[in-house]
């Protein structure tokens, strides 16, 4: 059996376990090695915390559909670890977990993201799941997306030709679809320096208290001067194929004290919620406005 990864192994620093096939498992120890393996093994599935990869496989196996893709385990790539401040802002590496985020001292602008992190699955998932993985999984109900949208996050994609960055809204193309190209890995989330006095929050609505997929969620980030909102960013998740910023709602809040009553149903016209097992579309549209108004109250 030919083993493309083996040839990659000859030229880069890596640790290869098995060949691509039923049980292939690739574990590069550098980003270059990871990219080389990805190029040499089309269709392999990147793996970090495993909190989305394994559940999807379990679901498919119920009906004897075994995912044949080899796993590309990125956990050995030190360059992808950590959360750090750079001159350009903050960098959340592809291996950074929700729990690490919560344990990292960060400006108040990140409070909403941390509040979301505390509500992703249970503690077990928070200890393993990564923020970048949450984006790559591209669920409409991904808890990380609304707060990251309000932070103005960009996604760093690294491929054979080097790195590029995309605004998060452009990275997420739809339900389970991203702008990741062939041979590319999402290597980090980049967040521009937030205003020093920015404050943020997150509200999640579900049918039980823990381990719940959102019916709807809202994230907000305000920068205020003397009680007047000078920058307002609002985002809603689980009410469209991807979470969305709401420019009309944001504009309605600008240059005034925080006032929930300024938010109107028409400001949410861009949402396209669906009926599903968790709630009706009409309810989601209604709940999104309620959550946004409560965020305004909370951040006032």
């Amino acid at each position: 059996m030919s083993c493309p990864a083996a040839s990659a192994a000859a030229i880069v620093s890596l640790q290869t376990i098995g060949c691509p096939g039923m049980d292939a498992y690739l574990r590069p120890l550098s980003l270059d090695a990871a990219l080389a393996m990805l190029a040499a093994t089309p269709g392999c599935q990147p793996l970090a915390g495993g909190t989305d990869v394994f559940p999807a496989r379990a679901g498919a196996e119920v009906w004897l559909n075994r995912d044949p893709r080899p796993l590309l385990d990125l956990s050995g790539v030190a360059a992808l670890a950590g959360i750090g401040e750079t001159p350009a802002g903050w960098r959340i590496g592809a291996l950074a977990t929700w729990a690490q985020l919560c344990a990292t001292p960060l400006p108040a602008a990140f409070d909403g993201l941390k509040q979301a992190a505390h509500q992703v699955g249970g503690a077990q998932v928070q200890n393993r799941g990564t923020l970048v993985g949450n984006l790559c999984n591209a669920s409409p109900a991904a808890d990380g997306v609304p707060p990251l949208l309000t932070l103005g996050a960009r996604v760093e994609l690294t491929g054979p030709a080097g790195a590029r960055t995309l605004p998060l809204a452009n990275f997420l193309l739809g339900n389970r679809r991203t702008a990741l190209g062939p041979g590319e890995l999402a290597t980090a989330i980049l967040i521009p320096p937030p205003a020093a006095n920015a404050r943020s929050g997150f509200l999640k609505l579900g049918a039980r208290s823990h381990l719940v997929i959102s019916i709807a969620m809202a994230a907000g980030l305000f920068t205020m001067e003397a009680g007047i909102i000078r920058d307002a960013r609002l985002a809603i998740g689980a009410c469209a194929a991807t979470a969305q910023r709401l420019p009309l709602a944001e504009a309605a809040l600008l240059d005034a004290p925080p006032d929930p009553a300024r938010l109107l149903p028409g400001h949410l016209a861009s949402l396209t919620p669906i009926d599903d097992v968790r709630a009706s579309a009409a309810y989601r549209r209604h709940a999104a406005l309620v959550l946004l108004r409560r965020l305004v109250e909370r951040l006032a």
Partner: protein
Amino acid sequence: MTTLLLNGAAHTLASAPATRLSAALRDECGLTGTKVGCDAGDCGACTVLLDGAQVCACLVPLAQAEGRAVTTVEGLAATPLGAALQAAFHAHGAAQCGICTPGMLMAATDLLATTPHPTEAEVQAALGGVLCRCTGYRRIIAAVLAASAAAVLAASAAAVLAASAAAVPAASPAAGSPVGITPTAPQPGAVGDSIPRLDGLPKLDGTERFGADDAPADALWLRPIRSPYAHARFSIGDASHLPVRLLTAADVPGRNGFGIYPDIKDQAVFAAGLARYRGDCVAALLGERAAVEAVHWADLPITWEELPPLTAAAAPAGPALHARWPDNILTTGGLRSGAAPAPAAHTAEGHWTTGFVEHAYIEPEAGWAERHGETIHVHGCTQAPYMDREEVAGVLGIAPEAVRIMPSACGGGFGGKLDVSFQPMVAIAAWLTGRPVRAVWSRGESLASSTKRHPASIHAAAGCDAEGRLTGFTFDADYDTGAYASWGPTVAGRVPVHCMGPYRVPYVRSQARAVLTNNPPSGAFRGFGVPQAAIAQEMLWDQLADQAGLDRLEFRVLNALRAGDVTNAGQRLDNSVGLVECLEALRPHWHALRAQRRTTGRRRGGVGVACMWYGIGNTGMSNPSTMRLTLAPGGRLTFHNGAVDIGQGSTTVLAQIAAEALGLPVSALHMVLYDTGLTADAGKTSASRQTFVSGRAAQAAGEALRSAILLRANAGPDARLTLSDGTLRVNGEALHLETTLEGHGSYDPPTVPLDADGQGVPYATYGFAAQLAALEVDLDLGTVHLQKIVAAHDVGRAINPLLVQGQVEGGIAQGIGLALMEEYLPGRTENLHDYLIPTIGDVPDIETILVEAREPLGPFGAKGIGEPALVPTAPAILSAIRDATGAVLRRVPALPHRVLEAIQNGH
């Protein structure tokens, strides 16, 4: 190869690097204390510590454990903190079936290592990722808080015992109750004493063996093939290209059918050409595990022709699903009582619907079989070993005596493990091959294939006079019984008898039909259809009480059944009708909670009340139990107990009863537990019957052995027995035995079958209860926030108040799920992140009040508690939502969008 530090020692594992850590621990290391409940991070049963932090081992590829420290439940006892947690879990009754316990312990260890003195909220946050279906979580929270407070308990067995002795049951006696709780028992384990469960320790250290934990190393692997369609014709072609054997209908040696009723064996082991629900088994792969797991759906030589599925609404006019029931009506039960309704000053009526509810035991079905000559042994999780024996014998075409059922520990049942699942398949495969054969359902398979609670569509109406006395009640319901009969006839029989609730109603017309559809088979689920009916009944009472200007609780007191009343089935209840005592015990809580509730603002408080009654044991039919005690010449005293303990505590309770009747302490008993080769038929663990029926048998066995001893010793009835150092003493005189003395006890509750009008004596005794629910409703989002539940239960006599309390709390948690979040939709909620059951944060503070209106037929006055605990919870919650908002919920679960819609429609 992966090398990791496992429970403090370096281990090198050969499993493939992509192997889930949970599978590597279990399959390669033999550390089966780490349980697999979902393989998707949804249930937390596989929680282990990875470098000290809790993770789901099912989400960790083995390769990522390289060089890291992994701690499993097997490693806990060696640490003071782990031992303290184990002791606290034991003492507080925090483990029932035990399947979630390792995960809970690991999550708690992570918490207490970093937060030695957590708040309750911190406990909930840390344990929020582990699901428990038995306990209702409150005992678990108490145990973690106690362990944190008493981490000084040393890591020794003595600590466990000390903690056990210190456990104080939180259940409080009913204020003013004529009976109350028995005072502190004279010796540990006496009737009335809250001893920790006798089978509890293996649940805490990972040594308990559940269905998936034990099988011969050379066992073949069996994997069912299930229909992905709700209704489809199929044909199976040549399977010779498969690397494994494909078992089909043609391979069934005996009758290709099973079912609960002796005359209804309508569900095929392997369907023959027609699949009637999504999940119906059509064939099975059989071979070496790796070969079986490599087979892909596309490899299967099965051709499908999808057919339109039959729904409950269309069933009566639709094509017959089974030739035997041309109108798709499996059975109809009814009751007629009273000639005509009395004149009513007030009337109320309504329509209610409920959905499929999944048992969601955290242990999916699993077990194995092995042929021994012309007999077969079947191991695994079950609630009904003797019924399994009949089913296995039937499909093999052999005598029941040639089948031995050897139950494993059962990781939750709730009615869902009364029907066979893996048993016929592994038995057939083992019979045909002569090899041991095992099977383990995945969570998705379990959800798709197992029985559910019947969805009900209920129309009910009632009236009362100007003073609030009920004048009449009518009830007409269709229960969607799914594709096969299962327990559908039982539900249709039990519902009409119960649906008016425990009240004096001069006129009742009730009917329940079990309707066949292309949905999952609806079977037995804690309450057999009564929880659905109670929703309609109690919602009507609230409306009538308001119209009559009566307090809702007093309306129920006014109408409650009392001792001496005759039920609508024509049965006179002379004893043990403790409903009024339950309501009176709740009254001060009712007024206090109502006074506290928030009546302004956008978050509005409400308090609800609901009652229930529940017949203990089978409906109007024989359901005997037999127990046996032996005393051997060497002084070994053995209790042969065939009642399966699925976590509810029968092993402990029956031992307490037997020991009390015998006059020796529980600690003197050796146990031989549920094995059809060793123990007599105690009947199934269902219908809340084991404490009452098997309890009476255990009491009789104890008395019989005592009589035999006293006769042998020529001693009087009050003689004092002691047993120590292998010597039995009667009034201090050693009794030397040459042969084994035996005490047999059997009991079959006296009932009279129901006639066509539902008249008879359906049950020998009934449990009664009333519950309060206090909650707040978010008027803008429709979300419901439970604050407190107060539960008053007449259990006749609490043999073990701690275990009774555990049943009450666990039943309430399932009632919360029924009311607020659980709805199984085939093909859409086949996992535990789309099918929601309550988490640790969803069960509020529960106060349990035990009322003991002694049942003369019961062992030391006891009745049952398993199902009664669940029945009143959902109606009490709906009552409270109505109190808070004015909204009458017509459909459960009351998901936020439904509550909001009801609020908007109600105003």
